[in-house]
Each structure stands twice: as structure tokens, then as C-alpha cells.
Symmetry: C2
Subunit: 407 residues, 2 copies
């Protein structure tokens, strides 16, 4: 039977050594990161979209899963791509778009990588997939594991939000709630991965897991009919930027577009390692970070993925920026007020960084810009507003409409 996938092998991003298409987390020769290679002729000749399929499987040939029996889906539709002209006018940008990934089943962009992660777990014969996460990745991996009939082992720290923890408790077959931060658990997790106790659902090494996020580029191309000038991504481990730009590069290699859009890395100032290296021209330097409301960007030491992210940004003439939390929260609120969209802080960072880069003259006002809003605003930690209730009356309605009531 012919494979659904056009994948042909793995290649090291550092020493370029080729490897078989098996479950492998690092280059045998140099320890570098691996990327999946595809037969370009097939991707060129076949139609991009399989319209009878849903989720990342609409682009099955571009994904690393051979047998459709391993596909896993919750009927995902392409996420919305829409212009935000009112906000654009405020920022002096004439062609500003948002791609809203909060419409995914668990409300975040992570559902794209979870589809390929869980399908590959099946493909390589695992009955369990594991992940360490502060919340969003945990519920997403657990969701698709349940859907596939696999066990999902999620390790989540006890400082996550009530909404995220309830979600995880609802869907996950196996949860470890732990005291401490990501770094305290990840080394034990990696040791378990090395023993092959479960399939690696983490963001640091596995070349198969993040491949689903390539669909961001493919969908955007399908919806827009062209490549925009700039794609702006929230950057934590760099997965979304790396995978999507790989998609754009493949669209160029198959002759569908002339060249990939310029990638823009958007980080919190608290964790601005890519932005600092890009501005200084130096190598990436890890930093010890504290709290940021943009939890999806809270990575101080990106390791090999960070070096690759910086390299791709430089190769593809990209940009990088960062914003303090207050600018992120202001943008979250402004977006809701002028366009109605309620995104989480991490989902507001790309717009906030775009605003800042435009102000600094680094973005052309006529550039076509797509910002990835990676999460819904419903997953946050919302303390009670503490509003005073008023006594219902017609007069209260009238005064509110006249703007004389308290708002």
C-alpha cells in the first residue's frame, strides 16, 4: 500500500547526516536536532489539500504518518484567518491579519503538534505518550491520547491555573502533579524517554511531534492564496516558528510561492533571549527568568531549538522583538475592545511586538502581516472582578446608555 506521507528520512540540521525514518531523537553522528525530509516531487505534483480530511491530515502527504489508520482527529477545521483593520489603523499598519488558533479543540496551537505526536506514538508502536507542561501542552496531549485510545502521562506543576488543572484532570489518564518548576521535572522525564517508557511528547528533541504545526503555513497559504510579507509567532521553545517556516520553505521549494515570509519572533521581555541575540548579532545566551503573564514564552534556556530558531530568523531575513507584560495586557484589552477577539496573553504577544517594531520603524506600514494568536482568552487565571452589583431598573439602563453610570 502506498504511504499517505511523502516523508523519506531524517536529516541533522547541524552536520546534515541522513537517518532512516524511525523513532530517533538526535543525530547519531553529532547529537544535533533532526528534521524530517520529504519527496519534493510528490509534494509538488499532488494537490495540497485533501478536502475530505480534517485537521493536519488535510495535508497528509506533508506529515510524517504513513498509514491513515494512525491518524487522530477531533474534526478540526482550519483556524480562522481574518483582517483586523480597526486595530491596524491604530498601529499604522494597513494589511494586518490575525490567525486565531484559540478555535482548536483545547483552545491552543498545541493541538496541531499533538495530532502528529499521538499519531506517531501509534505509528512507532507505543501505548503511552508523555509530556511535562505548565498546562496547555498537557491537556492537549492528554486529549489526543484519549481520542486515540492511548495512555497520556502528563506531568504538571501544582501552580497552574484552576481552569487548566480541571481540564487536565478531566481528560488525562495519568497525571503527576509535582512541586517545583519545569527544570525540576524535565531531567527525570528525559531519563524516562531515554528508557523508552513512553513516546516523547515534549518540545525539546522529538522531530515528529512538532511537525503538525507546519499546517499553520499550509492553512495560511490556502486561506490567503499567497505568502504574506511577515509571519509573527509567539516564541517559547521556538516550535511554532520553526515548524511553520519549514512549511513555508516547502511551499517555496514546490513552486507554490516565490519565497517564504520573513519570520518574526515575539517574546516577553522577561524571556527575550532571541530578541537580545538578534539585536546584538551575538550568539544566543540563556538567562534565568522569573514570572511572565505570557506563559507560552516563558523559556529562558531554549537550548538547541533556540540556536536553530535564531539561525532560521537570520537565514530568512526575519526580525525579533520583545514586550514587557504591561504592553501584552494592554494589547489583549485593546484587541478585545476594537475587534472583539478575546485571546490569552501569549496570544497577544505577537501583536504587541508587531506594534513595537512598527513604532521603531522596523516594519513597513504597507507590509502584509499575519500574527499568530496562539490561545483563547478562556484559559487564564481570572480572580473575581469584585464589581458592585446594581439594582435593576429602566433608569439604570438609560444612565448607562448616556454614559453617566459607572462602567
Amino acid at each position: 500500500m502506498r504511504s499517505e506521507s511523502a516523508a523519506t528520512g531524517l536529516r541533522c540540521v547541524d552536520c546534515q547526516q541522513s537517518h532512516e525514518l524511525d523513532y530517533r531523537l538526535a543525530c547519531e553522528a553529532c547529537g544535533g536536532l533532526l528534521e524530517i525530509q520529504y519527496e519534493l516531487q510528490r509534494l509538488t505534483d499532488e494537490p495540497l489539500v485533501q478536502s475530505r480530511r480534517t485537521g493536519v491530515w488535510r495535508y497528509a502527504a506533508w506529515m510524517p504518518v504513513h498509514d491513515a489508520a494512525d491518524f487522530v482527529t477531533l474534526g478540526e477545521q482550519p483556524s480562522p484567518l481574518f483582517p483586523v483593520p480597526r486595530l491596524g489603523a491604530e498601529l499604522g499598519l494597513r494589511r494586518l491579519w490575525i490567525k486565531f488558533d484559540g478555535s482548536n479543540p483545547t483552545g491552543t496551537v498545541k493541538d496541531r503538534s499533538s495530532q502528529t505526536a499521538v499519531a506517531c506514538a501509534r505509528q512507532f508502536g507505543f501505548d503511552t505518550i508523555g509530556v511535562v507542561s505548565t498546562g496547555n501542552a498537557a491537556s492537549s496531549i492528554a486529549t489526543y491520547a484519549a481520542r486515540a485510545g492511548l495512555r497520556g502521562l502528563v506531568c504538571c506543576y501544582t501552580q497552574s491555573t484552576a481552569a487548566k488543572m480541571a481540564h487536565i484532570a478531566g481528560v488525562a489518564s495519568d497525571v503527576i502533579w509535582y512541586d517545583g518548576v519545569y527544570d525540576d521535572m524535565i531531567r527525570h522525564f528525559d531519563a524516562a524517554v531515554d528508557r523508552r517508557w513512553f513516546f516523547d511528547g515534549g518540545a525539546t528533541r522529538n522531530p515528529y511531534k512538532q511537525e503538525g504545526k507546519k499546517s499553520i503555513a499550509l492553512e495560511t497559504y490556502e486561506q490567503l492564496g499567497r505568502a504574506p510579507d511577515l509571519m509573527v509567532y509567539p516564541v517559547g521553545m521556538g516550535e511554532t516558528l520553526l515548524a511553520s517556516q519549514r512549511g513555508w520553505a516547502a511551499l517555496a521549494a514546490t513552486g507554490r510561492i516565490e519565497k517564504p515570509p520573513r519570520p518574526v519572533s515575539a517574546q516577553s521581555t522577561e524571556a527575550n533571549t532571541i530578541a537580545e541575540a538578534w539585536r546584538s548579532g551575538d550568539d544566543l545566551r540563556a538567562k534565568t527568568i522569573g514570572y511572565t503573564v505570557a506563559e507560552g514564552t516563558a523559556v529562558g534556556d531554549m537550548g538547541a531549538k533556540g540556536r536553530l530558531t535564531l539561525r532560521r530568523i537570520r537565514e530568512q531575513d526575519g526580525l525579533a522583538g520583545d514586550v514587557p507584560d504591561q504592553e501584552t495586557l494592554d494589547m489583549q484589552r485593546r484587541l478585545a475592545q476594537v475587534e472583539g477577539l478575546w485571546v490569552g496573553p501569549t496570544g497577544a504577544v505577537p501583536l504587541a511586538v508587531t506594534a513595537r517594531l512598527a513604532q521603531e520603524g522596523l516594519i513597513d506600514p504597507d507590509a502584509e502581516i499575519v500574527c499568530i494568536s496562539s490561545e483563547t482568552g478562556l484559559k487564564g487565571d481570572w480572580p473575581p472582578l469584585g464589581v458592585e452589583g446594581q439594582k435593576p431598573s429602566l433608569d439604570l439602563i438609560r444612565r448607562t446608555l448616556d454614559g453617566v453610570s459607572n462602567k
Copy 2:
């Protein structure tokens, strides 16, 4: 210029009197509910889907908005429709589907009606739209009002969840937080509507507002390629059932299907007025209700909409059932565990009622059934889980995988 819409007029559901297609909330002759009439020949001859459009505007001819300049959208895609074979096997149902409306921009089915509500507010020259709501309708109306550049006046009681209140505070231009319950505010609101201070975004009267929910039927038909045997809806004011079944009736009238699916009303036992009347064969009787976790079904007095809902169920050979909160919560959890999907309580009620009706022998095990899951699980009120964090270690991972650790 030709109208985008095939709407031709309004007709009273009781006395059948016809009215012009203007902003009108009740029949002039008898005070009955109005429904929008369409030119069937045009709906028959034209393609169902305008694939270059998004949201309910993919079916623009079937909606009551004449000028595309009044359309309002956040790039909504059709909501996912997918089979749940594992859950179906547990319930003894071989062809069970879920249509998951939690993928909408604000996470609920209300985004469908908000699209037509806000577009019609524009069409009829209003600069403000208003609604009284316990949370979901408020954030949805406010979202589309902001997107359209209108004012959104939302009246929400102070007992809503923190997540819903934060969302409303983020998007709404004008909020009234009030002490009391729905009934305390709605009479003042209705008095303001009668004075035309704003466009009526409520569920009791306005024939234009709910029309967007007709798209549930049109999408399901488009995705499935046929009518299922049964469509199961959560019922509060009955809007979703009424509008969707109007869509199915029109699909039958235009020759696309033989007959509409049988509608099934799913309610909480706390607010089971339709179920009680259906079982007894009597008229609908209002009841005073207390709290139910399925907030979207918490309506004790459905009024004219309730009588119409019951009539349509009887005309279309439908069914009605109800479940206590514990069955709703058990189904919410079971769905998450075996299929991965995390829905809100109201979104679990249709499945819980289906399970019960199947158990009672009222549903054929071979029937094709589509359950509307109307909201994401992310909008709920989640108190801290109170879990004990453990110290990270490789041994902890091993014990969890072996099932000997606490879960």
C-alpha cells in the same frame, strides 16, 4: 443591487399573518412569534455554500441580511462534526456523532446567533445592541458588537463565573452588573427594547437574532452529506432547536433531503418543562427552578418559544428527555476520558439525555444521531483541585506508569 438574502417577509407562527421584512418583534394581529420567510425557488436553484465566505455568511441567501456590508465575522469555520465510536459502543449506539460548537470564537453556539443579531442591528440602523445574560450570550453579543464597531450593552448578574466576567469586562463597551436573577432585569430590558433604545439581542422575541443558528443544520448537512435520523439539542429558550430544525425543514423544502431529522430536546431535570409536557401529552407548564450546572438549560418559563418548541417536536416526530446534574457531570467526564473532548455541562446534556433515552428503548441502536455540544469546557467555574504536589523523580514516573502511584 440584488439582495444577498432570499428573505421575503415575516410570518406569524400562530395566525399565519404576513408582515413586511422590517424590525418587528411580534405579530401585529395576535402578538405571536414571527419567523422569517424565504423565496424557496432561489434557495433551491443557488448553490448552498458560498465557499469564499466564513461563518453564517457561507449561507448568505438563507440569512436575513441583504447587504454584505452589514455582515460581521471573525473568520468562523464550520464547527467540527466527528464520530464518537468508543462512547457510542458504551451506550449501545452504533452511529453517534458530536457537533462541537466550542470551537466558535467565544467558545459557544451563541456566536451563530450573534452574527445575525449584530448584522441585523446594522441593517436596521441601530448603533447599539443589548442583551441580558448569565454570561455566554453577553460575551458573544459584545464580541460581535465590538467587531462591527457598535456599542454592546450587556446586563449580567454578579453571580457569573470569574472566567465569564473577565471575558465580558474585556470585550463589552457597556456593562451593567446587577444584583438579582434574570427575571429581575428582563422586564426593564424589555421596556427599553420597546422604546427602541437599542436593538434587541435577546432570545425571547426577535426573529432576526436567532436566525444564525439555522447554520447548524446547513453545516451538518454539508459535512454529513445527508440528514441524520436524530438531532439532539440542549434546550434553554429553545432557540437552537427551533432555528436548526427550520434549517432542516428548508433543506427538505428545497429538495436536498427527504425529510428533517427528528428533533430531540435535552434539558436538565431541574428545568424539564418540555420533557414533562412531551411525556404527559399535556400543554407546557412553567415551573420555578433552582440551580443546575447546565446553565444553558436553566429556563423555567420558556413562554411562547417553549410552546413553539413543543409544537415543532410533536410535528416532526421528535423526542424529549431530561437528566439530573450528576448524570450530566458523569457524561462530561466520560466523554473526556474516552474521546478526549472537554465540553461544558450544557454541552454534555444532549449526550446524557441520549444515553438515557437509549436505555429506555426510545432510540434505535442503529439510528444515526448528531448531538450538539454547545460549549467548550473552558468557561466553567473551576475551584482549585487541592491536589498534593509530589517531589519529581524517575521513580515517581515509574510508579505512575505501573499504576501504583496515587492518580
